[in-house]
Symmetry: D2
Subunit: 333 residues, 4 copies
Amino acid sequence: MRFFSDNAAPACPAVMAALIEANRQDTAYDGDAWSKRLDAAFSALFGADVAVLWVPTGTAANALALAALCPPHGAVFCHREAHIQVDECGAPEFYTHGAKLLLLEGEGAKLTPDAIEAAAAAIRDDVHQVQPHAISITNATEAGRVYTPDEVAAIGRVANARGLGFHMDGARFANAVAHLGCTPAALTVEAGVDALSFGFVKNGGMSAEALVFFRPDLAAATRYRRKRAGHLQSKGRYLAAQLLAMLEDDVWLANARAANAGAALIAGAAGGRLVEPVEANEVFLTLTADEAATLRAKGFDFYDWGVGQARFVTAWDQGEAAVRPLADAIAAL
Amino acid sequence: MRFFSDNAAPACPAVMAALIEANRQDTAYDGDAWSKRLDAAFSALFGADVAVLWVPTGTAANALALAALCPPHGAVFCHREAHIQVDECGAPEFYTHGAKLLLLEGEGAKLTPDAIEAAAAAIRDDVHQVQPHAISITNATEAGRVYTPDEVAAIGRVANARGLGFHMDGARFANAVAHLGCTPAALTVEAGVDALSFGFVKNGGMSAEALVFFRPDLAAATRYRRKRAGHLQSKGRYLAAQLLAMLEDDVWLANARAANAGAALIAGAAGGRLVEPVEANEVFLTLTADEAATLRAKGFDFYDWGVGQARFVTAWDQGEAAVRPLADAIAAL
Amino acid sequence: MRFFSDNAAPACPAVMAALIEANRQDTAYDGDAWSKRLDAAFSALFGADVAVLWVPTGTAANALALAALCPPHGAVFCHREAHIQVDECGAPEFYTHGAKLLLLEGEGAKLTPDAIEAAAAAIRDDVHQVQPHAISITNATEAGRVYTPDEVAAIGRVANARGLGFHMDGARFANAVAHLGCTPAALTVEAGVDALSFGFVKNGGMSAEALVFFRPDLAAATRYRRKRAGHLQSKGRYLAAQLLAMLEDDVWLANARAANAGAALIAGAAGGRLVEPVEANEVFLTLTADEAATLRAKGFDFYDWGVGQARFVTAWDQGEAAVRPLADAIAAL
Amino acid sequence: MRFFSDNAAPACPAVMAALIEANRQDTAYDGDAWSKRLDAAFSALFGADVAVLWVPTGTAANALALAALCPPHGAVFCHREAHIQVDECGAPEFYTHGAKLLLLEGEGAKLTPDAIEAAAAAIRDDVHQVQPHAISITNATEAGRVYTPDEVAAIGRVANARGLGFHMDGARFANAVAHLGCTPAALTVEAGVDALSFGFVKNGGMSAEALVFFRPDLAAATRYRRKRAGHLQSKGRYLAAQLLAMLEDDVWLANARAANAGAALIAGAAGGRLVEPVEANEVFLTLTADEAATLRAKGFDFYDWGVGQARFVTAWDQGEAAVRPLADAIAAL
């Protein structure tokens, strides 16, 4: 069984049903009935007036968000391990036309207000230095950790005080919300976030992510950028339908809870092996090469993570029952 | 019934079946079983060693192809009405980092070797002028016309003699092949084409186009550009599966033949109203405002096309039977 | 004697004297005493509050101006023969990150309000088409013609009504002002121009042009773009000193008058050979190959200009006396 | 007296004389007699076939060099304190269209082969990560330190083994050569350097730097990029003349020796205050706020450098005699 990425999971039943239901003639691009319902559906979820664009990948959502918040001659603060820095092949630089990512340290792949303030203070206010225009955080983080609403709000206050845009990469936003038990709004719009890459693909979608602007004015130019980037799919209704299906009956939250529960079960079995507290659906363990081989011999697939460590990721369809064999195998090491 | 775009059509049964079949766990991005079969499947179709990348839109395919063929300081010859110039919001300029499209005239939205030669000859060979690096043609064209293999090959010889890359926007490539009855190879690799945007979405796909490189070496850098543009979907198997389903049993050709047949039926009914010969699945008619209103009152949806003209596009599910009511209505005007 | 370009001329005495005078220690970049005087000096000239940046070339001035007025996903209306389209190797596309130049026709290389309105009206207001954000005109034009204040103001009203930025490429702005006898303000700020590339190099400078913003707010981001483009010279005082020297005692105007007078003398000798009315310092003549050879045999250097035509350009040091031999030789053909 | 930057110095007599000498009519851009002599003059200096382009700033030279060595989707290794990272407002990102600078640590602002190897080894060879394409070092470094020919060659071997381009930012290359007493070739072409930004402005020039390609094939596309960036000055002879004047009679080396001697004198007076060994023309000292105030009260101008430190830079006209008062004042603290 595969635990190397939640991207490996299939699409969930609600999404497949929605695709079949949407498989009929309608207006092209985002003029269709499904796309037109998006703003209202997400505004209801967040209790705020938001503008939403579907895109097929988190990379596209992140890069479009950053382009909306930072000019070509500007910079974005992010963590050294941020997905936008490490795993997007320079998409932020492409979409922003060459803005700089300024890399900060922080435990659990989390930024702190202090780290941002210190970095900002070290930049001379002259034309020789690239000036910061935005902050980007990932929630849940690349280390499987979760920012609380208070932590996000503290960064939001720094952003506000310094006139910086505030982006959240929420590839696993659902897992963060599920872990915290808070509202989606508490973690975003109420904490000063301007734009959220709301991930659905890792959480049971097939090919649709939501780029949510809490400042709806940012959406206008972004619609041009989306088209210009080749992301305005001509049969966009299939993306919109996926998102609506995930919102309906809180499928997104149920899926995330299942994945989190699977991860928690592994964590419980791992005990002292845990490298990071497990707060979402990723588990980082210390594991010797022999132990890793033992697990793989039993049919479990996962990534080595640096030397002597391994990463296990659970998906929406890998709740407690599906994960128990792995948990047992880890406990038996 | 809608005739304003083949983008309005649903996905065809083979594609929907393939998506359901592909809905299981597999490796992420393009490491899955379906994606790995693409090069072989398209190489078989073209009788040549090709490299293929899936992307979700024709705009992405076109822009990636041009970026592979033209540096930022170069230029691409295309027709004044080319989709890359008129309808992609500057995607070629985005992906090429600012290359110029040099616009040529030509009947039926077709370029001719003479027009290209004349334009190329007028460019001084110095650093003050942007130098041409590529030619892009659309087949079938934006006017619903079709380049024959001989016509393509004549342009291919110009490209070769001048050291220019040669791209074909084949959003309706299937319709062109269906009209001509030639092999796909005759219209591309045998005629000197370097890169083809092979359209599937308008022809019954849901969200997958194929960017085909007849010079496979061009694919390596393009794979980085695709990721960098946010087009490397994490569940790429759903795109690859669509393409494979369309190739199998020549679904792509059957679908195109059906659409062409529908267009031909309309053309037959239109008689002297035809603005352009109908060679694919688009029909351009002269139509007064009153006549257009009459058709719309009967439930037919289509685009006005300039003053006193209208465009009707048929899709894979709008063959002769589906289109007959429209043909009858036009004949009755 | 050379008449192929006013770029061939040396720097004028006032400029050389200023360089020698400025050759002492001062603060780097644009913090020096000369650079700090620029805004006031140009504001006095234009009778308006302007912000001025020195740059070494007209291409840099033009491209920075367009980047200030047009986003990457936008377009700029200009004449088909505009220097920004024909002779800058894509600098506008580089600095704007891929904006499109939309090419219009017009007699004497001049745009008209009607041509702009017609082109703007033909652009659909949707995300598939690049939307216009600016207009750029050249004064004097690439054909040696001059827009009057009324003509500029008419275009300025179109710009204002449509919310478009308005840029003037004034590589030969001095020659236009000298021809018209109007104030610099009448031709720019009073006519709705937002940014002027005020050329000095062709008019007796060595290496400094002035980018003048009549909307001073546009200068802030441009200062970053200038640095980012490598145009913030570390010893900027030498550029500022050139500009100040040219403004003092209206050297810029005297130089332009001299060049215009030289061109007028040629024009008088040319009679029916004139292809364009001579309104600045460029003369376009019909000339057979034999006649061209005759002139060249007498030591006159100039460009062929298409078939059967030639271009002669006079510089600040080619007033009536210097040009008389050429005028006589042309009259004698 | 100013010691905050060698940019504050005037142009040296040889340069001023050359400008006056060049102040006559000649062909525009780089077709003039001076520009045409550049390749030969620098090839003689380096004992190798080089291609040379003049540009007005080190930022332009650096950014053009990097654009020649690294594609938009690539990365450049450099030191965390490199000028290209810290003081060029993102010029490398602008010219490369968004390549990434990967920042390494190293004593004295110097890279080591080990640091580069370690960073390269940590990058996964897949499309998700930006792949390294070039290395850039600064000699003399931003800390006033000098790489020896052996040190450069060791990095050159890494570049060669990994297929990376190798750029040297030589804003103070002359000072490095003067310090080492080696040939310019030993520090560059013989050590595997592909492109050198050879600085002249800090060393007595007015407005000309040389971008030297030891792989002359890299120059062709760069000529287009230079024009496209607005750096092809129309009266380019004034830049070429400066460079030639500096090469003649080794003015560049004499100037650098003078500046280095001045710095050495300060270093001798500073004793234990030295933060870095003084190997070129920059001196970094520990200095209390009171001590700094004492020096400034005596008329010495310099930059604070972090907390409790200061930087003094000597120029070509600040040799031992000119600097003695400062040295005495420091000794007297």
